[in-house]
């Protein structure tokens, strides 16, 4: 407590002593545009194609779009392409992930479902299992068209580890949740979500340029990033 008072006092004194206190001289940023919760349908195609282009530009793979009915088949196709035998799947999305998990199992794959664990040992064990997954599947809360970014919030059934430790990541995003830019995505997320969840903006596979500025992907996080756009049934 003492340290806090001391530091704050030095800051206060510095501000006042400088006679440069301009409390509201700078009204700050432009007021945040209040983005509609759902992107207007007319823009949707343009936003999807911009998202796809930018994602590819940073080394991600745009794997096309799917309807709710075609989703499982498409995911199995992507799993084949990745060569994934073990797939970890997250829940808490806008669609039921169980049919997808079932279809993956039927295709002969080992499926890891995420959820609440009984105790510390089970928790550690589940993280270890996820770490060995060839592919993780999550739904992104939204995406950013101007940068090819996927915005993923962590929940009990969609832990952070899913988007971090498996070899490859497949993120599914609904077409009506692709925003134009970061400002709109942050509005769409809202302070409430950010205050209650860990959130990650993910733009392409993990990368480094620490050795002679040569870009290498997959340094710590996923080596591959795939994104699939889901067109809602009412579209």
């Amino acid at each position: 407590m003492g340290a806090f008072v001391r530091v704050l006092a030095s800051v206060k004194t510095a501000l006042e002593g400088g006679a440069h206190r301009e409390p509201n001289a700078h009204p700050g940023a432009r007021v945040m545009p209040s983005a509609p919760v759902v992107a207007p349908a007319a823009n949707r195609a343009a936003l999807v194609s911009s998202f796809a282009r930018e994602l590819e530009a940073v080394g991600g793979h745009f794997t096309g779009s799917a309807t709710p009915e075609g989703l499982s088949a498409q995911i199995i196709e992507i799993s084949d392409r990745v060569g994934a035998l073990t797939v970890a799947i997250g829940g808490d999305g806008s669609f039921d992930s169980e049919p997808v998990a079932g279809a993956l199992e039927q295709s002969g794959r080992d499926v890891i479902r995420c959820g609440v664990t009984a105790d510390e040992a089970a928790r550690r064990a589940l993280i270890e299992r996820i770490a060995r997954a060839d592919l993780a599947i999550v739904e992104a809360q939204c995406a950013i068209a101007s940068t090819g970014t996927l915005v993923v919030t962590a929940t009990p059934a969609r832990p952070s580890a899913l988007t971090l430790i498996p070899q490859a990541l497949l993120a599914i995003v609904r077409a009506d949740r692709i925003r134009a830019d970061a400002a709109e995505a942050i509005v769409a997320l809202g302070a409430e979500t950010i205050a209650n969840h860990r959130v990650a903006f993910i733009t392409g596979p993990s990368r480094t340029a620490d050795i002679e500025k040569l870009i290498v992907v997959g340094v710590h996080g996923p080596k591959q990033l795939h994104a699939l756009v889901l067109w809602p049934a009412d579209d």
Binding site: A3, F4, R6, V7, L8, S10, V11, T13, A14, G17, G18, H20, P23, H26, P27, G28, A29, E54, C114, V116, L126, I127, E128, A131, T147, A154, T155, P156, S160, A161, L164, D181, A182, A183, I186, A191, I194, A195, N196, H197, R198, V199, A200, F201, I202, T203, G204, S206, R207, T208, A209, D210, I211, E212, K213, L214, V216, V219, H220, G221
Partner: protein
Amino acid sequence: MASTHNNFDFFAASEKAIGDTELRRKLANASGHHLDAAARTRAEFPRYDEEREAARRIKAEAIGRLDELLLQLKQRLETNGCQVFFAADAAAARNYIVGIAKRNGLKRAVKGKSMTTEEIELNPALERAGVEVFETDLGEYIVQLRHERPSHILTPAIHLSKEDVGTLFHERFGMTYTNEPERLTAVARDNLRSIFMTADLGITGVNFAIAETGTLVLVENEGNGRFSSTLPDTFIAVMGIEKVIPRLADLSHFLEILARAGTGQKITTYTNFITCPRGHSELDGPREIHVVILDNGRSAMLADPVMREALYCLRCGACLNACPVYRRIGGHAYGYPYQGPIGSILSPNLFGSGAGFLPFASTLCGACREICPVKIDIPKMLLHMRAKENRNHLKWPRGASRARRAVARFARLAKRPRTVRTLSRIAAWMIRPVVRDGYVRWMPPPFSAWTRTRDFPAPKSAPRRKPKSGGV
């Protein structure tokens, strides 16, 4: 503010660096690459200047209301379940962090890239307390293996070639020599993966702390910051007081300019938002989050109306890449964790008068001000600091007036290595009596502090006048 950072002789180091054509090639290559990429990305983004103005305005507001915002940030973080510690100086921050490690019985720390923890010299303190410390950013990992310090705030191993890294990995891990970045990166990934899975302490810096929501924002490309802030049970974020921004809505303006200025990306691979510890039903995330908010000379900068602007810095690294002096001499010559133009301003303020000569190591060409995403007027501050250092009788070694003038004129000379070499020979001659085996073992005050913790290679010209038998 006594510090062991100042164990370096700028004369000797810059002379050595200027003569090192291989280093110059690496620096030109790397900073040129960043500059080109950044210029391209900015050209494709018509709103760049608008966003830059907005970001600058927000920083001005945040710094002008710093007391209020720090109080708000503290309250929000605590409401979210984080523990907040304000540290007046580096020692207080170190002691607090070491205290947590001892109390929780922590043994293995993984770190994301954090210049602030370099500033407070955290690693040796943790190691003394029995904690193994692993730098996990690839560049930091490489320099840690070489027992070096980062030479660039953004790309710590910029001074090394892929051959250097290949040799290092060959020697340290016994792997077959290769200079292929993919294979070297794969080895680092494997080594660090097992360390991440077993670490009990994660430590990172903070790029932005949002007062409104009590959220820490961490940007990075590799994912090591995400690992460090997700898997270990205890997570410590270390930030300077200047990192606070008022509102969530402010953030996008910074995200739009930070990577565009630094690496030429539109946005970094990961932008991590960390607000609260792991809930009962959650699989991961730290159980304990500590936020260390560091003053360490920053409030003194705040009190100086000219210096205040330096607190806007986003640590994007662009001014280093653009600086003709940095591109000649590299980061190590500066001798402090913050290098280049902004480093020459921060170091004397954060580390004391030992770094007082740094503001003289600039050509005042203005490239830094031009490229800075928040338009910090670095040349103006350098002049201000030169005047201040002169007033405060910046201490140069006795009889060093010639060398002193040489540094004061470094400006024009940086472009003429031969001249610098000659002048540095004068410096070399001055330290001749204390050179042994090519290393400077001892220097007269005030430079004695520089050699306290580390010997440094003597300038190349010194051995010419080698003392007859073993020296002093």
